[in-house]
Amino acid sequence: MEEEWKPLPRRGTKKRRRVRPENGGEGAPCQDTQEGHVKATCLGESGQPPQKPLDTSQMQQVTAAVRRRAAEHRPERGEDMGNDGVAGEFYEYLDHTADVQLHAWGKDLTHAFENIVPCMLNYMTDLSKVDVDPSQTQTFEVEGHDLSSLLFAWLDEFLFRFSSEAFVCKEAKILEFVRPLENANTSSKSTGGAVGKLNEGERQGKYTIKVQAEGETFTLTKHPQGTEVKAITYSAMQIHENEGRADLYVIIDI
């Protein structure tokens, strides 16, 4: 079949014309009979959905949105965020080849949980540019079957609210932190990425947090864009709880 190839390409020739409407959307009529095109352009018969032309209102919406973007958001080279993803007062960012490890701490677990929220969100935008709009304050509950899954669900909830409702939480105020049947062993506890290592007390119920989240809606005109967080991971997740200090380590996928 080698001889089928000719050095002259059938494509890429300048200003090759084929009938297609202005917006480039509609299926082309079957007039280009060069091989490969026949099958592609004769739709409708092959069971593929018939194409509908892009109507003008659709086009107008897109054009308007593009114009809006162009007007609102034209950093020459990207404006400097001012924050370099460096440590806040109660959190820092640690090294990892492809991802980033969050480390937050506080005088107890409740405070550590509160601090890891700005730790994550500050990576996505500059929290110093975020204000608290009291009308947007949200109250919700998060639950898990052990501490690791609670921490996972906790961060996942804030990520979800950011990417679905564009809600940036500046401050998370924990109203209630419920741990079922506290075990006597309150010394250091590391779960080392394991979700399954449950002790007796934990097995009996759910961990829940009720939180009041304060912040505002993310807008490109006001808030600088940081790095996108794809997901929270259990990878090397650590929860250390000691007398007077609690530490959390979470790797986020970015």
Binding site: K14, Q51, G78, D80, T97, M124, S164, G196, L220, Q225
Partner: protein, 510 residues
Amino acid sequence: MANGSVVRTFEEEMGFLHRETPTRFRIDKGCVPNMKVEGAFYVNTKLEELMFAELKQHTTAGGVGGFLPAVKQIANVAALPGIVGRSIGLPDVHSGYGFAIGNVAAFAVADTEAIVSPGGVGFDINCGVRLIRTNLTEEDVRGKREKLTQSLFDHIPVGVGSKGVIPTSAADLEAALEMGMDWSLREGYAWAEDNEHCEENGRMRQADPTKVGMRAKKRGLPQLGTLGAGNHYAEIQVVEEIHDPRAAARMGIDQIGQVCVMIHSGSRGLGHQVATDALVEMERAMARDGILTNDRQLACARIQSPEGQNYLAAMAAAANFAWVNRSSMTFLTRQAFAKMFEATPDDLDMHVIYDVSHNIAKVEEHMYQGRPKTLLVHRKGSTRAFPPNHPLIPVDYQFTGQPVLIGGTMGTCSYVLTGTDKGLEETFGSTCHGAGRAQSRNKSRKTLEYTEVLAALEEKGISIRVASPKLVMEEAPESYKDVTQVVDTCHEAGISRKAIKLRPIAVVKG
């Protein structure tokens, strides 16, 4: 099953690695417990240094510490139930979540023990690369480069928190999840030829939108038609070298300096959430079915279990979302070019050359031990590379083999390769996907200067628009493995062939 790591010295670890060919190493059984098959990885002399440095760091840390080296991760995958052939690491392999990034593993669908793992697909389901050609040359773009880059940046929503510009309702999203690029075609955002030049024709038919959770859909809706951040980009590139004129001609590339557009993006928040939800669900399935893995991150479920089937249906829907996403951005790119050059996208010959996915699991027929066998092939950070005459590649590429698009990093070259028969035999028809990270993001930020990176790009004649400047450092070429080394290794190993080399002239990033 504790992490699978007995503490060994570096020399002891090296005892499990054997050079098979100049570009391939074998990982013997015993490297980690319960290995069902051997592992293998492809490297050349430059890249093997990085691999071994990572392993050495792990052994000196005494088995404790942040993450497992890629070698160990490949071996842990080889210990999963139902794996066939080998667990394969490609030249751009580096440590990832559960599976290494650049890891290929196939599981026999008929085997009731065989598993599917979201970690083998990655969080960004159907993250992939699309290449669009034009009939413009570098000469035509000269003088308009900055304006064109700005226009592309204005058209394509990039970065954290940006919203899609294409009007989409919740009902549209459902349809898009089910129909993939057929939806884009129906709505007028894609050309019929686009679907032809796309893996699976831009639509995975096993997709079931009802298996995609509400949270995933809510995350996905505002993000349809957005590029995202991180390593995702849209680049205007020019053809620098044509290695295989015959294959290039089939792709419509016929001259040095021809302008192309490369789009690298994925399924956005929707895919991330599908993966997250599945991992949580599979934790439960593993306990129920008594599935043992060496690493907790390798959460998985039997292919034939409800969890496995649910994941595959949801993953397919997320894959469809990614194709619609790339199609929407293709549409916007065509608009940007059409306005700039005052010609229709059709007159500019802006056809999709091909669209590959490099984070996906697919059911495929492969020859295994001399017989055809239905396998579920996980490709994480790996691109499908089918040879000439394979039934699953488009008519246009039947004689050349499937085009494989390898995106470089900001400011470095990209490549188009083609699939080979040897690749089909050795790696289940898979090859590398890009450069692969070599340096952590934090380290890049600390060691590199924002202005230096920009000056270096300027010097190379590359325009850049980026939403977040710290990304400039994180994504600087210095943070990645050399893509040319990676591609050359694939070429040398014969698992794919070089066809075209592309050089960026403009980068748009989150």
